[in-house]
């Protein structure tokens, strides 16, 4: 049972009743800030809270949550759909949107009551904000201070291009770029450029090769008599050189096209660059969705509980907040109609609560599984470390405890297309914990989610066909229909034909080939 506040404590309440106004927001913000910074030790960007209407929220949805965005029909499509779902009552609006920028912008909706605003401030302005500022992926890949300026630049650039080259031409490029967006990120830091030393050695090697193979007779010899083996070798060598010069193999398709596509005009390259930057900006979010939401949910839960303990919010407000909280972290079971994968809020929140529990009230099992954190008495410090240094995949791999596996009653199913039925191969028992944890972690690994595609070669001597390869893991091939459409988009950027080979990752044998001819110009 929730302990009730004494009636006398009413005077301390930050707000009463559902109405919100700017003063109350400010008071609540200060109280939350005190708990978040001083008790939980969070470290956040300066906050900016913006009040918007539900219509503006729909607008924000449509432009993938960014406050500024260039114009494109696909955002209109998203808007049309969201609007219909919302108007027909099939789907509520999100309570907040938060933007990874400095200052960190959180949108709150005017329709929400004060308890809800409290929840949102704790969730977005502190939970998400802390995560954005501290997680290593965001630190490494995104520039929180520059993003808004960059988006403004992008929007203006695109609209200038539209004026100059026509909406259709711009749309054409953006369509193609959007299709490749998920393959427009650098997953790793760039390979260093060849240094002078290596450059010289390469040159040396080339000369030696030339000298060794020089024979005056080739100057006069007839073609049929040539040493074919040497020719092939030289050709291979040359192609290797070209590949190296072009920086192949390359998995960032948009980057490669921006730098190397022969037919693109400068403004088209710039458009590719813009989409690539935006994709890169979102890449950490895709990899940390569960942790990010878990972190924000955990923070708002802890903060709200503390506000209530300190007698700063009323029972009614707490209940209203908990009502929203519980519906957010609801996890339907697999045979439930509402089941739609594992709810990132539910798993993230449960794992973080579990870590807190292990730090303060460890069981014998926890001591065995997590000797380094069990009973260390510093739950927030432990969590801050986890928030800073893990992404979804590694977080699950490191911290998913047997207790949680039991609580969720997780089980693993193996599905081999060659066999009639699927097979349960691990459940929540002693033998299954590690297997389930490994498998679940793999689901959060983006590298396994997005197909592994690289640009392998360009036939510069021939028809300039661009050769891509898809590494097929466990026999999972690409979706036929959408791949063909993407390749067509790709030809419009590259300007020549495209060939995509699906290669088995272990045997390197080609399983399937997709081709697209260049669009007639």
């Amino acid at each position: 049972m929730i302990p009730l506040n004494s009636v006398a404590g009413d005077a301390d309440l930050l707000f009463q009743g559902p109405e919100w106004d700017f003063d109350k927001l400010r008071r609540v913000y200060d109280a939350i800030s005190d708990i978040a910074l001083n008790e939980m030790g969070l470290d956040v960007y300066p906050n900016q809270i913006e009040v918007i209407t539900s219509e503006q929220m729909l607008d924000a949805y449509a432009s993938i949550g960014l406050p500024l965005m260039y114009r494109h029909w696909s955002f209109g499509k998203r808007f049309a759909r969201e609007e219909m779902l919302y108007r027909r009552g099939l789907q509520g609006l999100a309570y907040e949107i938060v933007i990874n920028s400095s200052p960190c912008i959180s949108y709150i909706m005017e329709e929400n009551a004060m308890p809800m605003q409290t929840l949102v401030i704790a969730h977005a302005a502190f939970g998400h904000n802390h995560f954005f500022k501290n997680n290593y992926l965001f630190r490494q890949w995104t520039d929180a201070t520059g993003i808004l300026d960059y988006l403004a630049f992008a929007r203006d650039y695109v609209s200038r291009c539209e004026e100059q080259y026509g909406v259709e031409a711009v749309e054409h490029v953006l369509d193609a770029a959007h299709a490749l967006m998920s393959h427009g990120v650098h997953r790793y830091a760039r390979r260093p450029k060849l240094n002078l030393e290596e450059e010289r050695r390469r040159e040396e090697e080339r000369r030696r090769f030339f000298e060794e193979n020089y024979d005056d007779i080739w100057r006069t010899a007839e073609l049929p008599g040539r040493n074919i083996a040497a020719d092939v070798e030289a050709l291979e060598k040359e192609r290797g050189d070209i590949r190296r010069r072009l920086g192949l193999p390359e998995e960032n398709l948009l980057y490669f096209l921006e730098k190397q596509a022969p037919k693109l005009k400068p403004w088209q390259r710039e458009l590719l660059r813009i989409t690539r930057h935006i994709s890169q900006y979102f890449y950490p979010q895709k990899q940390t969705r569960m942790m990010n939401e878990g972190c924000a949910t955990f923070c708002h839960y802890e903060i709200v509980q503390r506000l209530h303990e300190k007698g700063l919010i009323s029972d009614g407000a707490l209940l209203e907040i908990l009502h929203s909280h519980t519906s957010v972290i609801f996890q339907p079971e697999y045979d439930d109609q509402r089941y739609n994968g594992i709810n990132p809020y539910a798993l993230g929140f449960a794992m973080m609560r579990d870590i807190k529990r292990m730090c303060t009230e460890p069981t014998a099992e926890d001591r065995e599984w997590f000797p380094e954190i069990a009973g260390n008495g510093d739950p927030y410090g432990t969590l801050r470390h986890a928030w800073a240094n893990y992404r979804d995949e590694s977080f699950v791999l490191q911290y998913l405890s047997p207790k949680l596996i039991r609580d969720f009653r997780l089980f693993k199913v193996f599905d081999d297309a060659d066999v009639d039925a699927m097979m349960v191969d691990a459940i929540h028992d002693e033998r299954g914990y590690r297997e389930i944890r490994r498998a679940l972690a793999r689901h959060y690994d983006l590298a396994r989610h997005d197909p592994d595609i690289q640009i392998r070669d360009v036939d510069l001597a021939g028809d300039r066909c661009l050769v891509l390869s898809h590494a097929v893991h466990n026999g999972v091939e690409l979706d036929e229909g959408s791949t063909q459409s993407v390749l067509e988009h790709l030809t419009t950027l590259w300007g020549y034909g495209i060939r995509l080979e699906e290669q088995d990752a272990t045997t390197e044998s080609v399983i399937k080939t997709h081709e697209a001819a260049a669009a007639p110009t």
Binding site: I2, V7, P18, L25, R26, P46, Q48, I49, V51, I52, T53, E55, Q56, L58, D59, R71, W73, S74, F75, G76, F79, A80, R81, P103, E111, A113, V167, A179, R289, M290, L319, P332, E333, Y334, D335, Y339, N340, G341, I342, P344, R409, L410, F411, K412, V413, D415, A421, M422, V424, A426, H428, D429, H449, N474, V476, L478, D479, G481, S482, S485
Partner: protein, 430 residues
């Protein structure tokens, strides 16, 4: 920390994008709209239209793994009965327990994309087909008076808009979760105290007293209805036109009227209805069909059932008069009529028609439009078709009355000019 009020910022930031989306899908939308129009009833008026278009053309393809094939594993919650080694039937259609996946949105491609066209977008597309001149479009969009209409709930409002059901539901949930003692529970404790007192059990009575006090204290603290429970009905202003009109649809349904002709007629009726709907608060539609006699029918029968028999137009006019006298007095209703026919009439009936129209009907109607459909066959010979009986009769009526218009229509593109004429006259008058 900054708090910024962005509410005054311009809304509709997505409108350009939305418009681009509709432009892009124009072909598909038009097709879907044509379909929807066939289903659409006249009574539906000019509300928005839900359209469902194939995803082709508005696809956003990405490179993604196929949803089937290969070796995969899933981790899913909620195990109830499975142990290691159990075999599970593969769920059909790719969904169900199989998708224990972190990203739910990588499921199958949507086959159709559904969204709502707003009223304006609908009218734009609808009139585009008929090449509505801009002049008339602006007239259609003229502003109207507004009225309140229900729009969900809010946490603030006046006592008169209190929504008791919602409020009590919240209150009940809160009382249960905070363990507010119910009156019966307090009564039970009182009874307990009484029994204890009766039995001279001092200890029991003291305990009951304590319980009672605790319960009462709790009941005092947890309000029966707390301000957070209270919900009000919310109202929004919705634009509304301000008077009422009735529209009579008259149509010849004898065997000579083909489906194509009826479709032309329907389009015309629909257009007129949309127009009236925009100008009047309430538009009633009366359907009168006739062969050699006339009757009032519902919309379904009007457009879709077939009749055989001769053609006596005056019966329809009489029926219209009868209905108008019974239910639609010209004092309180604006009366519009549209008649569609292929022009056949029983020759002796013509005089009766012009008599009825000139003396009784036209004086009380705002407007009477006659369209003669399906004149193609006669036009094919290269000269204007010989006028039909009805046409000749009506031509005389038209000379004497300004609120009567007549036109021939052979295909959908010609419908609009007729419609436009109707507007043009009204502009000239008023």
């Amino acid at each position: 920390m900054n708090i910024i009020d962005r509410r005054p910022n311009p809304k509709g930031k997505s409108l350009t994008n939305r418009q681009r989306f509709i432009d892009r899908a124009r072909g598909e939308v038009r097709e879907a709209l044509a379909d929807a129009l066939k289903r659409r009833k006249l009574g539906d008026g000019a509300s928005g239209e839900k359209v469902s278009i194939p995803t082709k053309g508005i696809q956003e393809p990405v490179l993604r793994p196929a949803s089937r094939g290969g070796k995969r594993d899933y981790v899913v919650p909620g195990n109830k009965k499975f142990i290691v080694g159990d075999r599970i039937e593969r769920p059909q259609g790719g969904g169900g327990s199989g998708r224990g996946n972190a990203s739910p949105d990588d499921g199958g491609e949507q086959d159709a994309f559904e969204f709502m066209l707003s009223k304006e977008e609908f009218l734009d597309l609808f009139f585009e087909d008929l090449e509505l001149p801009d002049l008339v479009k602006t007239r259609l969009r003229e502003s109207e008076a507004s009225q309140l209409s229900r729009a969900g709930y809010s946490v603030s409002g006046t006592p008169s808009t209190l929504n008791v059901v919602r409020t009590m539901r919240n209150s009940l949930a809160r009382r249960i979760s905070l363990h507010r003692p119910r009156p019966e529970e307090i009564e039970a404790i009182e009874l307990q105290k009484q029994t204890a007192l009766d039995a001279d059990d001092a200890e029991g009575a003291a305990q009951a007293d304590l319980d009672l006090e605790a319960a009462q204290r709790r009941a005092r603290r947890v309000a029966y209805i707390d301000p957070v429970d209270v919900r009000y009905n919310r109202y929004e202003r919705v634009p509304k036109p301000n008077t009422q009109a009735v529209m009579f649809c008259l149509m010849d349904v004898s065997g000579s009227m083909t489906e194509a002709m009826k479709d032309l007629a329907k389009r015309f009726f629909l257009l007129l209805h949309v127009f009236l709907e925009r100008r009047y608060k309430k538009v009633n539609v009366v359907f009168i069909r006739h062969t050699s006699n006339a009757q009032e029918v519902d919309e379904e029968t009007f457009f879709h059932s077939r009749e055989t028999g001769g053609t006596i137009v005056s019966t329809a006019l009489e029926e219209m008069l009868k209905v108008a006298r019974e239910r639609y007095s010209p004092d309180t209703w604006n009366i519009y009529a549209a008649q569609a026919s292929d022009g056949d009439n029983y020759t002796e009936d013509s005089d009766r028609c012009s008599q009825l129209l000139g003396v009784e009907i036209l004086p009380m109607t705002q407007y009477f439009a006659y369209i003669e459909v399906g004149a193609e066959a006669t036009l094919r010979h290269g000269f204007p078709s010989p006028a039909t009986d009805l046409w000749r009769t009506y031509a005389q009526v038209a000379q004497q009355h300004t609120n009567f218009a007549m036109r021939r229509v052979a295909d959908p593109t010609q419908i609009f000019p007729v419609f436009h004429e109707l507007f043009a006259k009204h502009r000239a008058e008023g």
